[in-house]
């Protein structure tokens, strides 16, 4: 199977989309970013339902778009499998007919058998004659996926595949989807506003901000070394801003906006952002002492306590807002509640310096 290659420039709404990426067959690229970053437009450009201002798209040896040469392939000639955000099932056709829709050109009986086999594979064969309006969100998602895969597409495009599902079905649907995507021998491009979804489903994650891919790598690389505060923020890290006061030796000391200092093993100068993951931060009621220079300590006051399963997210203010994620036991032992004065500490080695 062929790789998908795209280099695209296009003005959409208020943003200038400017992206380039390769996706080999058998790999899934997750493009993650906030709504309005141009994610859906990238899929439309790949599918051919929108024309780019400039750029090229190739699929193996086939040139789909080359604005310089005036090459243009219509969507029906590219045959991308496309799973739309709201699934876009044809409301006047049964689930089976939706899946069989892309199989024109094959004999009728074969069409039916192929569509039915796919519905069976996705565990919804008994819904073959049901209309989309009577299906649940999870069932619709499976019909949409079966419909996209039925004609053996050249590539698979997924637009927020889990967004239309309620919180309860989302987790299981995500695992199922990742199992379906794994063995596919075609390029897969997925867009989502949720970093965890991107990390779960993609072999690689590209973070999109303001129309551009600001960083690309596997999910743990992005989380470990975010290139910008946006990426750090997006991956779920806390970002504190400040100014580098002292850079020398092994530690860089940063004077934080709103008071306090923090150190990091990264190097930088001038205005910077410091990112740290909430689960790296521990809380104690001991007064701040500066005996351990490799440990950051910041006096803070608790503003919120939210229980999430066996974890507790504690919202803090220490001049700047901060979030710590600790165990329920630690919360009880320390007697933490809104208003409690605590010391938040985390290692300098767990603190990343990121550009603002």
């Amino acid at each position: 199977m062929a790789a998908l290659h795209a280099e695209l420039t296009s003005a959409v709404g208020g943003i200038e989309l400017d992206v380039r990426f390769d996706v080999p067959a058998g790999r899934c690229l997750s493009l993650a970013g906030p709504s309005g970053a141009g994610k859906t437009t990238i899929l439309r450009l790949l599918a051919g339902t929108v024309r780019p201002d400039r750029g090229t798209i190739t699929h193996g040896d086939e040139v789909w778009v080359d604005t310089a040469q005036g090459t243009w392939r219509a969507p029906e000639q590219r045959r991308c499998g496309y799973v739309f955000q709201d699934y876009a099932l044809f409301p006047h056709l049964s689930a089976l007919r939706n899946v069989a829709y892309g199989l024109r050109g094959t004999p009728r009986s074969e069409r039916r058998a192929t569509a039915l086999a796919l519905l069976e594979r996705f565990g919804i064969a008994e819904l073959a004659e049901a209309r989309p309006a009577t299906l649940s969100g999870g069932e619709r998602q499976r019909v949409a996926l079966a419909r996209a895969l039925a004609p053996r597409p050249s590539a698979l495009l997924l637009d927020e595949p889990l967004a239309a599902l309620d919180a309860r079905t989302r987790a299981s649907a995500g695992r199922e989807l990742s199992m379906i995507l794994q063995p596919l021998d075609l390029p897969v491009v997925l867009v989502t506003h949720d970093f965890h979804e991107a990390a779960l489903l993609g072999d690689e994650v590209g973070v999109i901000d303001d129309g551009k891919i600001v960083q690309r790598g596997n999910a743990s690389e992005l989380a470990a070394a975010p290139a910008t505060t946006f990426v750090a923020d997006f991956t779920g890290a806390v970002v504190l801003t400040g100014t580098v006061r002292l850079a020398g030796g092994e530690l860089t000391t940063v004077e934080l906006d709103g008071g306090g200092v923090a150190t990091t093993t990264d190097r930088g100068r001038g205005r910077v952002g410091l990112s740290v993951y909430p689960w790296e931060i521990t809380l104690s009621r001991a007064p701040a002492s500066a005996d351990e220079s490799a440990q950051n300590r910041l006096a803070a006051r608790i503003v919120s306590v939210t229980t999430l399963g066996n974890r507790v997210r504690v919202g803090l203010t220490a001049g700047q807002p901060l979030v710590a994620e600790i165990t329920g036991k630690a919360t009880d032992d320390l007697g933490l509640e809104v208003g409690t004065e605590v010391v938040a500490s985390w290692k300098a080695t767990a603190t990343r310096l990121v550009g603002l």
Binding site: G48, A74, P75, E76, R79, Y82, F84, A88, F90, A148
Partner: protein, 264 residues
């Protein structure tokens, strides 16, 4: 009575006046037309000729409007181009055109002495085709407007999905856009039909009122109201019944599931 109750009372009174005023003439038509009288009138060859002609001309006019108007409305609903709103407005113009002006306009354009007179000659003079032209002219906007908004309401991702699944734009129009928009298209066709049935002014001026050739039911009612008032009433009753039937059809189409089945 509490002081607050006056506003609901006012609303109720307004509704009562409006309903009474709008319904009274319709009731009068049926009240003054006994069943026997109705059947007698319909036995009159002039009346049956007019009914037949109205049925024939409105059917042809609606068929032509749907045939040409559906793709045109799809084009206007799915494309953006310079001057689009001008084209949309021009298509809606006949809605507000006084019927007499429409009749004169049609004569000036398609009559023997009109702009296209050289091409058409006397083809439309005293001919049933002239009735169809007049009906199409005044009713087309009713269908076009409705068809356009129905196509606009079709989710763009449905069209995109069909394209990525290998269907050309033409195939997508026939297999997705029309079936999904069908309830709206049917409602538009029913509205256009009702408008064509009631057409009077433009037809009278452009096609004349000749029994069996250009005299539709509306023209027949006008023709006999001075000489045969009960006969005019009977014809009116038939027209009201058919129009009310069309109105009911429009009201019940959006909720119907029958059309989805028809589209399979």
């Amino acid at each position: 009575m509490s002081r607050r109750a006056w506003f609901p009372l006012l609303l109720g009174a307004a509704v009562a006046v409006a309903v009474a005023f709008l319904l009274l003439p319709v009731v009068a038509i049926f009240a003054n037309t006994g069943p026997g009288r109705l059947v007698d009138s319909l036995g009159d060859p002039a009346a049956t000729d007019a009914l037949k002609l109205s049925l024939e001309t409105t059917s042809i006019a609606v068929a032509v409007i749907v045939l040409v108007g559906t793709p045109a409305a799809f084009f206007l609903a799915t494309r953006s181009f310079r001057g689009r709103s001008v084209v949309v407005t021009l298509i809606e113009l006949p809605l507000v055109l006084p019927p007499a002006a429409a009749g004169i306009g049609l004569l000036a354009a398609l009559g023997p002495e009109g702009i296209l007179g050289g091409v058409l000659g006397h083809a439309l003079v005293l001919d049933t085709a002239a009735v169809v032209v007049a009906l199409s002219f005044v009713s087309a906007p009713f269908y076009m407007r409705q068809a356009q908004s129905s196509f606009q309401a079709v989710d763009r991702s449905l069209i995109d999905a069909s394209r990525t699944l290998g269907c050309s734009e033409a195939a997508t129009f026939l297999r997705i856009a029309v079936p999904v928009a069908l309830p709206g298209l049917a409602a538009g066709a029913a509205l256009a039909w009702a408008r064509a049935l009631g057409e009077f002014g433009a037809t009278l001026m452009f096609a004349g009122s000749y029994r069996g050739i250009t005299q539709t039911v509306s023209l027949a009612i006008y023709d006999r109201f001075a000489t045969d008032f009960p006969g005019a009433l009977a014809l009116s009753a038939v027209l009201v019944a058919v129009s009310a039937g069309l109105l009911l059809a429009v009201k019940f189409i959006p909720g119907s599931t029958g059309f989805g089945g028809a589209a399979r």
